[in-house]
């Protein structure tokens, strides 16, 4: 861990601090990147690294790290952050650690500062949240704090940029000192602290706090400076804990948000508004995307004609990708609302409210945010569960996250529901979707409690269950930040899912188009349109996909499906949303001139089992498909991240086996049950 700055090495500045201390806001300011500031403790799971903006004219790397309470970690999340602080795998030991300290609660935050100083890091203290301290009528003396702790202390308002210049000159000075130093300073790890040492630390911090915090002068002109100082210290001595009162507004709002009755109402209303806006607000935007892609596909058709490459472009590429991008508005809205809720401080209250019921089924209040994120995408959700300190609860949370109905399932549900109900009844559609969501939540509760019962077999871990969570002061969420954050999330998502969807669309196109790409049909007495349609079905019936499908047909029959749906279901194991594009390719035998969704719907209505008049898509089989999608773990990326986060194959393999068998069995029961009651 020896380290010395030479001319060729770019200095590394790490930003450390407790959760909610304003780290990320400072990082954004220095890096110019618009990352989000998280209000939910510990949710900066991943690191952000960047160069300091050129306008600040310092050549240094800057690293944002997850919030830590202590250098002695108590969760995997913290352990990672602590280890990375001591020696980043790629960048080594940070040359300077800028530690953010919430001025409105400095005693708690100075605890980490002391540990950092004891570890012999080169520390610069940044005081944040001064507005909260001022609201309480107090101020803090940075010069005194600097004198006591023997390091630079700078007051900052990251939003307005006040104090940034001072911080930069302090950074420059520190870099300069390091360059001139001959001997290098070695960093030492903090040994685990016993109770006595810990309390000694805190009592020293108490003295520091009393020295540096002082009441704000109301009428400074009337008093002589010296008398005033004496008065101030008297006030502090007499009311040593006045500045330790939390934010007044937050206390008042919590009386409502955590109220036994109103709290529950607010919680459910928030969830309801969130999910209904995902469906209703998104609808017109989705139509727009849908029309844009039909236009592109039609244009490609008319320019390239009925040739193999024309087909490849219009059906393989454009329709395939388009049928998936249709649900982008829904993802955007979900990310936006989650961001706003997180920023406002509401999510931490939600976690507190739901801790008790979740602990009954072996989960934790801290499972709430990961589970909620699971409605967007299981991958970030599983990563977010690192904040759960208890291994059993973390594994159980990871286990059931795939049951949260992720946004990739929305296009699948959308098309299946559209098939079930007439289009003018959008309300019924929304209702069915709500039922699907409630059903999947209820199933996850049942599955979680069953798995928890047999946790010795499934999770193999049983350590202390704990829920300690800071409820941060309420803040007005910044719309601009939430919007930029929404776009960066959506962009990441598209770049991750997009290529997979494109490749699979092309592969499925190839499988359905070859080898008999120009089939011979008897066209006597038929219109040109009918000939095209005949050719298409002949081509698919003799394609590679058909051969592949025949192999799996025996498995598909019991749930009322044929090989074509089977091929689509196999394709979904790469990503669920591929189901729609794959159906579009396999079933879209005629181009009726409608938009993508409608022509797929009419193709589904006309689809029959080969050489028979029996319809494939009926109410029973469509309902069966929906049930299948609620449970089946059809996402390789989820399996991969589950493997990574649990450190073994046991959990992901169990997930695949358990969820896919439940999916198949319940789909079977649904289809045959409905048929038994005469619903076909």
């Amino acid at each position: 861990m020896q380290q010395r700055i030479t001319k060729n090495k770019v200095p590394l500045i790490a930003i450390a601090g407790q959760p909610n201390s304003g780290k990320t806001t400072l990082f954004n300011h220095l890096s110019g990147k618009k990352f989000k500031t998280v209000n939910y403790p510990g949710s900066t799971v991943e690191y952000s690294i960047s160069k300091i903006l050129t306008k600040f004219s310092i050549n240094a790397n800057i690293l944002d790290s997850p919030g830590i309470i202590s250098l002695i970690p108590s969760s995997p999340d913290e352990e990672l952050s602590v280890n990375t602080l001591y020696a980043h795998p790629d960048y080594g030991k940070p040359d300077i650690v800028v530690v953010t300290v919430d001025s409105s609660q400095i005693s708690r935050h100075l605890y980490l500062v002391r540990q950092l100083i004891n570890s012999r890091f080169n520390v610069i203290i940044v005081l944040t949240m001064l507005d909260l301290l001022h609201k309480k009528g107090y101020d803090i003396s940075e010069s005194k704090l600097s004198e006591i702790l023997k390091c630079d202390v700078i007051k900052i308002n990251s939003k307005s940029g006040e104090g940034i210049d001072e911080l930069l000159s302090s950074v420059n000075r520190n870099i300069h000192n390091l360059e001139n130093e001959n001997g290098s300073v070695e960093v030492v790890k903090n040994p685990p602290e016993d109770k006595e040492n810990l309390l000694k630390s805190y009592s020293e911090i108490g003295h520091i706090e009393a020295d540096v915090i002082f009441p704000m002068k109301e009428t400074p002109q009337l008093k002589e400076p010296d008398i005033q100082k004496i008065n101030e210290s008297l006030v502090v001595l007499n009311n040593p804990r006045l500045f330790q009162k939390p934010d007044e507004f937050t206390l008042k709002l919590d009386k409502i948000v955590l109220h036994k009755f109103w709290g529950l109402i607010i919680f459910f209303l928030t969830m309801l508004i969130m999910f209904t806006s995902i469906f209703y607000v998104a609808a017109p935007l989705m139509d727009l995307v849908n029309e844009a892609f039909s236009f592109l596909s039609d244009s490609a058709d008319s320019i390239l004609g009925d040739t193999w490459y024309g087909n490849l472009i219009s059906q393989g590429a454009i329709s395939g990708v388009g049928s998936v991008l249709v649900f982008l508005p829904q993802i955007l809205i979900l990310f936006l609302i989650l961001g706003l809720l997180e920023d406002s401080g509401f999510l931490a209250r939600g976690a507190m409210l739901i801790d008790k019921p979740l602990s009954k089924i072996g989960l934790n209040g801290k499972s709430f945010v990961p589970m909620l994120s699971g409605f967007a995408c299981a991958i970030p959700a599983i990563m977010a569960s690192r904040t759960i300190t208890n291994k059993r609860e973390r594994f159980l949370t990871i286990f059931i996250i795939p049951l949260m109905s992720c946004s990739a399932r929305l296009p699948v549900y959308a098309i299946l529901i559209a098939f079930l109900i007439p289009q003018d009844k959008a309300f019924t559609g929304g209702l069915i979707l709500t039922v699907i969501y409630i059903f999947s939540i209820a199933s996850s509760v049942i599955i979680a409690s069953v798995i928890n019962k047999f946790s010795d077999v499934f999770l193999r871990s049983n350590d202390n269950s704990s829920f300690i969570l800071e409820l941060p002061a309420y803040r007005m969420p910044k719309i601009k930040r939430a919007v930029t954050n929404m776009f960066s999330n959506a962009k990441q998502y598209i770049f991750k899912a997009g290529p997979v969807i494109l490749y699979l669309s092309l592969i499925i196109w190839i499988l359905t188009y070859l080898p008999n790409y120009n089939p011979v049909v008897d066209g006597t007495g038929k219109s040109e349109q009918e000939i095209v349609s005949l050719k298409n079905s002949e081509r698919i019936a003799t394609s590679y996909a058909s051969h592949l499908g025949n192999l799996i047909e025996p498995v598909m029959k019991p749930i009322g499906m044929d090989w074509r749906v089977g091929v689509s279901l196999i394709a979904t194991f790469a990503a669920r949303e591929v189901f729609v594009s794959s159906l579009t390719l396999i079933f879209k035998v005629t181009d009726t001139g409608e938009d993508i969704q409608n022509s797929l719907l009419s193709a589904m209505r006309n689809a029959t089992f080969e050489n028979t008049e029996v319809k494939i898509f009926t109410t029973a089989t469509t309902a069966g498909l929906i049930v299948f999608f609620i449970f089946a773990l059809q996402c390789l990326s989820t399996v991969a991240i589950s493997r990574k986060e649990t450190g073994s194959w046991r959990i992901p393999v169990l997930q695949i086996v358990v969820f896919t068998s439940i999916a198949y069995i319940l789909a079977f029961v649904t289809v045959n049950g409905l048929r038994f009651f005469g619903i076909n």
């Binding site: 939390p246 036994k260 704990s466 300690i468 409820l471």
Partner: protein, 81 residues
């Protein structure tokens, strides 16, 4: 220092009423969460105010050192007042 067996007889943070203030007397070392509780500021001599309970009476939120922290009832019992 007090011995563990005597803690049963003592009042803890879990017994506090909404709005009640108290000074922490000691932290029960034998509780698995005790170290983390002390690290986040629940130290003997520190004043806490009980703020809210959820509809299920658990967890409980406390005002401490300028912020609000929610902990479970079974963790609050390790905070002797």
């Amino acid at each position: 220092m007090l011995k563990t067996e005597h803690y049963d007889l003592m009042r803890t943070a879990a017994d506090m009423k909404i709005g009640e203030k108290a000074i922490i007397e000691d932290i029960d070392n034998s509780h698995p969460s005790s170290h983390r509780l002390m690290e986040i500021g629940f130290t003997p001599g520190q004043e806490i105010v009980m703020l809210n309970k959820t509809v299920f009476n658990d967890p409980i939120s406390f005002s401490i050192r300028g912020t609000i922290i929610a902990i479970r009832k079974n963790e609050a019992v390790s905070i002797i007042i």
